[in-house]
Amino acid sequence: MSKNEVKSSEITPESLYLNRRNFIRAGLLAGTGIVTGLGYRFFNPPPPGEVATTEISNVTQSTAPQTLEKPNTLAEITNYNNYYEFSTTKTAVAGKVANFITRPWTVEVDGMVQKPRVFDIDELLKFDQEERIYRFRCVEAWSMVIPWVGFPLKNLLDLVEPQGTAKYVAFHTYYGGKSSNQDVKLPPGPNGMQSSFSAGIDFPYVEGLRLDEAMHPLTILATGLYGKQMPNQNGAPIRLIVPWKYGFKSIKSIVKITLTDREPPTTWNLAGPEEYGFFSNVNPEVNHPRWSQASERRIGELAMRPTEMFNGYGEQVASLYEGMDLKKYF
């Protein structure tokens, strides 16, 4: 027997060889499967649990007609949010707002008013609050029904007394706490918010209404929903709600309101003037250049439903736009 020859006893038995190969294969299946699964979960994390905020005690009867449609659940309302300062992914916002600080908080009201004033959020929470169950239609063709709590914006504007020359109202979202006004007290930035570069739109987020739209009884400053203070992801501590306009008009986490005689710049209009107009009234006949606005998906439903003119609030608001070409002033 030559030295190089392998003794038959040293050859790995076929069964053992196959066992080892099967073992490696099982390991490969399990290992790559786990990596793929973790990768999927990394990009699609499960939604966080429900948020708990303080009850609002001073809620009174609504002064406006209510929709009888069934409101969306708190879980739906708090886990599907467009809040680009935190994330451009609607399902990811809830997971990023836990450390957003909303105290101290003030809302500065200035511009063409007789009595410019800085309101503390606790003052605003003492205004009579009422529940307003409104349809909410996003420009992305989805909608919800949301039981807001808040008060008409008019109640606040009446206190500062707009001057006769004022024609528009401009709003600013919080983006860092810096201000030249001594009375403004806000948490320091970035407070969990991301850069304009990451979001793809300019910050601070700005919005605007015509004065008559702002004074309309359906227009409210919302301080909560489902009878409790506003969850961070929905625009805590105070936000605008204009139910007949696309959702992006209803600016969140407001720190400043300015009365002016000129149409104020608005964030999405600046980002895409052909796609998002100043008015942005819900209108099934004026499509977004890239997608249809004729129908919408109500969150919680599978099929699409037709979109209503002025989001179904035409009876109350159509007169504001009498004689206007709504295809031109979209």
Binding site: T36, Y40, R41, N44, N79, T88, K90, G300
Partner: protein, 200 residues
């Protein structure tokens, strides 16, 4: 079981994991507030992922010498087609209630739908002719000429994705960059001869 067979099972397992998660999360109602949109977006993204993986086979073979990979290219391409089918069916059934006139109107009115639809229809001949029988019937040369369609398909797919986002272009940009790299890799060898001086 030989290695090729095993590797196909390995690829299938991993390729179907996203669908498994979608089904499992959907079954327990955990696809988020807008499950249809989520399913639509995820199947669309998976279509693009598999198109890019399919296009990576040739560069990986040439750079690392992993010639065995070509045995799995057909399968990877078919998974792209599979997720593309799921994507189109979801759109047709849930967004359009399977109304052919509505879908036709959408294609005419919305460039991003037209582009996505074109990409899908270009995938059909590639899926059909992916079998060995068809390679023989067409002849290798014609077959590979036909399958060059994957380049416009992938480009249209990325444009389709880009056109639906509002301002968050991160992922479309990422897919676009990877696709650009994969395409540039193929253009480089073609450019070289023209750069060399003629020798006659």
């Amino acid at each position: 079981m030989n290695d090729v067979r095993f590797n196909k099972i390995l690829i299938s397992l991993n390729a179907l994991i996203p669908l498994g998660f979608l089904a499992f999360d959907g079954w327990r109602g955990q696809l988020g507030a807008n499950p249809i949109e989520f399913f639509l977006r995820t199947t669309g993204v998976m279509t693009l992922v598999f198109l890019l993986i399919t296009l990576s086979v040739t560069p990986l073979r040439k750079i690392f010498g992993w010639n065995g990979l070509v045995k799995f290219r057909r399968m990877l391409g078919l998974y792209a087609f599979f997720y593309g089918c799921l994507h189109l069916v979801t759109y047709s059934v849930f967004d359009k209630s399977f109304s052919i006139p509505d879908i036709a109107a959408d294609i005419i009115q919305r460039p991003f739908i037209a582009i996505g639809m074109a990409a899908f229809f270009f995938m059909i001949p590639l899926a059909v002719t992916s079998t060995t029988g068809w390679i023989k019937r067409l002849g290798g040369k014609n077959w590979s000429r036909l399958h060059k369609l994957i380049y416009p398909i992938a480009i249209l797919g990325v444009i389709h994705f880009w056109m639906i986002v509002k301002s968050d272009i991160f992922y479309p940009l990422l897919f676009g960059l990877v696709l650009a790299l994969l395409l540039i890799y193929r253009l480089i060898p073609k450019m070289k001869p023209s750069l060399q001086p003629h020798k006659n």
